[in-house]
Symmetry: C2
Subunit: 213 residues, 2 copies
DNA sequence: GCTTGTGAAAACGTTCACAGCC
DNA sequence: GGCTGTGAACGTTTTCACAAGC
């Protein structure tokens, strides 16, 4: 519960992995864990984990470790995942479809609540029970459902336009798969560029070492 | 051409973006550029770009800037992309299909050369003209075609097995989409975890700022 | 005059090492 | 005795600032 300033984004991005490990532990019936155990299962060092957690408070018991269920709740609260968080997906292609399957199967914490596309062929069809909506419905749907997170899975040439529409619909965080630089004050953009990812891999394939996401 | 030691991986990962920007410039008919211009178009600072390039040599002309075509060639050579690099994809689901489309459409520098799956329903079918092969053919195909890069786009429970098979086939760099910690000496693993990506986005959606991939 | 290339400084993130507490 | 929480040390990455060169 202790307030702390200047939390590095890299630390925040590690939290969901800790959360996943904790969920695994819970499903194995483990009730108490340690930073050393979390380190083993996550691949990060125990000091790193303790530091990351310390940015947000003191959740453990010295000499004992962490209560799995309590720490899970803390991480959920910190990340804003106390209730499942709805996400809007723009782009109902293969990548979009893959994301719907991922997000609904794998994670219980976020889910795709609405899908949009501008292809008349796709509008009205269903993906995993979700009706693909026309772009015209975007703003109204997001407002109604209180969606603040958007995913851009459209071709490069449409990305900027979709970005503006998402911003206009008051989205505050975006996961962008298009290779386009998107920026706006008050909007956090996380880029995943599969093409450049593959290209840098070519370099590492030459003289390999190991690496962390 | 100057040799340099200790090149940070973060710098290498930025190079493909510079390469893309250069390709855009070339297609606009621009022949000479500057670090300031590249900065504008890439979102990184001009000093950052100059430093990144300096790890590999001195490619510019003081007072003038960089020759677009020359710098493009240098980056291709540095990244190991002088010829299009073949990549093996394991997992012919939606994500795999999306990657094939991405990698063949967007990028001229890497391409999916072979697809594998263990689902009899998928084996033998074609995706963008590529026949889906059974896992049994993996090692032979990769050896024959000299493929050193693999992409893991299979469900979590199969990821470790696929990883071992790719390593056995002498792959040296892997792009892993499964939420599984994969490690091996001499193999560079780049993880992309779409689920944790979405979850950390929930945090940034609360008090947004801007961010870089 | 303009832009690169680069040491030096600053900022940042990780690891160390241990005091504090069960 | 064991494990957390944390300041201090370390290493890495970014930014600064300017000399070098066209």
């Amino acid at each position: 519960m202790k307030p702390q300033r200047r939390i590095p984004a890299v630390a925040v991005r590690r939290l969901p992995l800790y959360l996943r490990v904790l969920e695994d532990l819970a499903s194995e019936g483990v009730e108490v864990t340690s930073s050393a155990d979390l380190a083993n299962r996550s691949g990060y060092s125990s000091e790193q984990i303790r530091k990351d957690l310390a940015y947000f408070g003191a959740f453990g018991t010295r000499g004992l470790g962490y209560d799995v269920s309590q720490l899970t709740q803390h991480l959920r609260r910190i990340l804003g995942l106390t209730a499942a968080v709805p996400v809007a997906l723009v782009g109902a292609g293969n990548l979009g479809t893959a994301l719907i399957r991922y997000a609904s199967l794998g994670a219980r914490d976020t889910y795709v609540a609405a899908v949009f596309d501008d292809d008349p062929q796709k509008i009205g069809t269903e993906i995993s029970g979700l009706r693909v909506r026309p772009m015209e419905e975007l703003q109204a749907t997001l407002r109604e459902q209180g969606i603040r997170i958007g995913v851009i899975a459209v071709p490069e040439q449409n990305a900027r336009d979709v970005f503006e529409k998402l911003c206009a619909a008051d989205v505050t965080a975006i996961l962008n798969f298009a290779p386009t630089k998107l920026e706006k004050r008050q909007v956090s953009v996380q880029n995943v560029d599969l093409t450049t990812e593959l290209q840098s891999l070519a370099y590492f394939a030459l003289g390999a070492g190991s690496d962390r996401a």
